[in-house]
Amino acid sequence: MIQADINTIYIVVARELIKFFRDRGRFIATMARPLIWLFLVGGGMSRIVSTAMGIPYIQFIFPGIIGMTILFSSIFSSISVIWDKEFGFMKEMLAAPVSRFSIVVGKALSGTAVSVIQAFMIVLLFPLLGLKLSLIQIMQTIGVSMLLAFCLSSLGILIASFYDSFESFSVIMNFIVMPMFFLSGAMYPVQSLPHVLGIFTKINPFTYGIDALKHTVLPGYVLTTHDFPLGLDIAVISFTSIFFVIIAGNVFERKK
């Protein structure tokens, strides 16, 4: 039984990675978004936003851009579950003698792998922004990225498990992904938000991911840029990951 689960997880991840490396167009498209935000938005805003936090704006949003790469990439890859349903491949998996749970975990891990590869490439841009990251810091950042990517991929699968077709895609983008991004402290400190929106930032798991990335990328500015302790960030991300995976596994298990 264990062997069957390991086999399933392995081949589900392998399939996703094969497709990821084969499809260069998708790779370029997903890398373009963070680059545009970092250099066109961040670069432009740096000129008008004062450096009250003690660092240039483009450096301030760097953890946010790493987080953005992970957010979009994770949600997009796990939404491939909807493609699989639409094009029938999901039936091949659901009819096999494997647990639904291993399919969900496999999908979450493939989203994680794809996201972390992309996040790593963004992290390597740090010298262009005038930042100095130590090897330890880079490794810590990748570690946090993995955790965050797993959490968001699981969330993506959970969302995808409720939809059978792609018509609802823009709904997911506009009402889940974009608000999650803006209400996370990725682009501005969340303390400055009105109270009501502040509540949303606190229930948004992505906020804790961004906060953790700020800890690892900008450790020198803890007082000005952070909202929570790193331990709390990690705990929240880990807890919500488990929560999402279990719920998604159960939703998949449902039989009509």
Binding site: N7, K19, D23, F87, G88, K91, A95, K255
Partner: protein, 330 residues
């Protein structure tokens, strides 16, 4: 009849107030080709989905090779191979990768994985194309690849749900020729559905289903006997004397229809034709014979054609509309 490998008893499936499958019972003999025939929406796919453990029945039981479809679903899954009505290949992956994925899901041992995949690809004549992405394959090739995939884990039963849907006539013929070889060459029992009556001719046993109920079962020949035997049309030099001779000398049911004599034969007409010709010594100008088709069986049982669209004669367009509808019904 050898031992039944599928046993279905009083199976019922309701979706809300609609009854898709209504108290059906049947058995399928090991090593046979069993056909489930009926029009669209008759409950064929619902039955397959229950047997494949993808749906739970509302009531009744289904046992596959000694395992109960609900309680022992994972045992059942290991014993069956499925070719679904809609294509379920990953079109971005190559043929080989699709089969590799399957071999992992079904825990084919590492040592024989490669060998099994190669064998399967050879078996369906796709070995030269194994590294091509599936999106470059024709409809017939994709179907064959799906059959190959479903055989990799050596299932005891192969489920084929409308396997020829959307294929051109030539690939359709090829696929049937190929499927009919499977029980002998691969040792599998085949459970297939179709709404093309003529395709069910390769089946050893057929159940006809309409509106969720089985309305007739038997071998294709048994079923055809239900609508009477063959029909012979004769053209003669002198119809009235011929008609009299047929009735008095051969004791056959005959009548004049237009310029031809119409004779209803009970059972097979092959032996009857020479007798007729010699009895009517020299008067016969032309003979033609018609065998009842399975479609006539359905027509007789339900009073309607199994494929109303067949009358209008434009199948490809109808099929396209149907698959389009299917997409949006989901």
């Amino acid at each position: 009849m050898s031992l039944p490998i599928i046993k279905v008893k009083n199976l019922t499936k309701k979706f809300g107030s609609a009854t898709a499958v209504d108290d059906i019972s049947f058995t399928v003999a090991k090593g046979s080709i069993f056909g489930f025939l009926g029009p669209n929406g008759a409950g064929k796919t619902t039955t397959i989905n229950i047997l494949c453990t993808l749906l739970s029945p509302t009531s009744g039981s289904a046992i596959i090779d000694g395992h109960h479809c609900v309680e022992e679903s994972s045992e059942v899954r290991k014993k069956i191979g499925i070719v679904f009505q809609d294509n379920t290949l990953d079109k971005e992956l190559t043929a080989y990768e699709n089969l590799l994925f399957h071999s992992y899901l079904y825990c084919v041992p590492r040592a024989v994985r490669r060998k099994k995949i190669d064998e399967a690809l050879h078996f369906v004549n796709l070995h030269e194309r194994k590294d091509d992405p599936v999106k470059k394959f024709s409809g017939g090739m994709k179907r064959r690849l799906e059959v190959a995939r479903s055989l990799i884990h050596q299932p005891k039963i192969l489920f084929l749900d409308e396997p020829t849907l959307g294929l051109d006539p030539q690939s359709r013929t090829n696929l049937w020729e190929f499927i009919s070889r499977l029980p002998e060459e691969q040792g599998v029992t085949i459970f297939m559905t179709t709404h093309y009556m003529e395709e069910a001719e390769i089946c050893g046993e057929i159940s006809i289903i309409d509106k969720g109920k089985i309305i007739a079962s038997g071998s294709p020949d048994d079923l055809k006997k239900m609508v009477g035997g063959d029909v012979i049309y004769l053209k003669t030099r002198d119809n009235s004397s011929s008609l009299r001779d047929i009735r008095t000398l051969l004791h056959l049911d005959a009548e004049e229809r237009g310029e031809e004599i119409f004779i209803q034969v009970s059972g097979n007409s092959d032996a009857c034709i020479p007798t007729l010709i010699s009895a009517l010594s020299g008067r016969v100008v032309a003979v033609r014979m018609q065998r009842p088709a399975l479609n006539d069986v359905f027509l007789k049982l339900t009073g309607k054609d199994i494929r109303p669209e067949f009358i209008s004669g434009n199948n490809e367009i109808k099929d396209a509309i149907r698959s389009y509808r299917r997409k949006f019904d989901k």
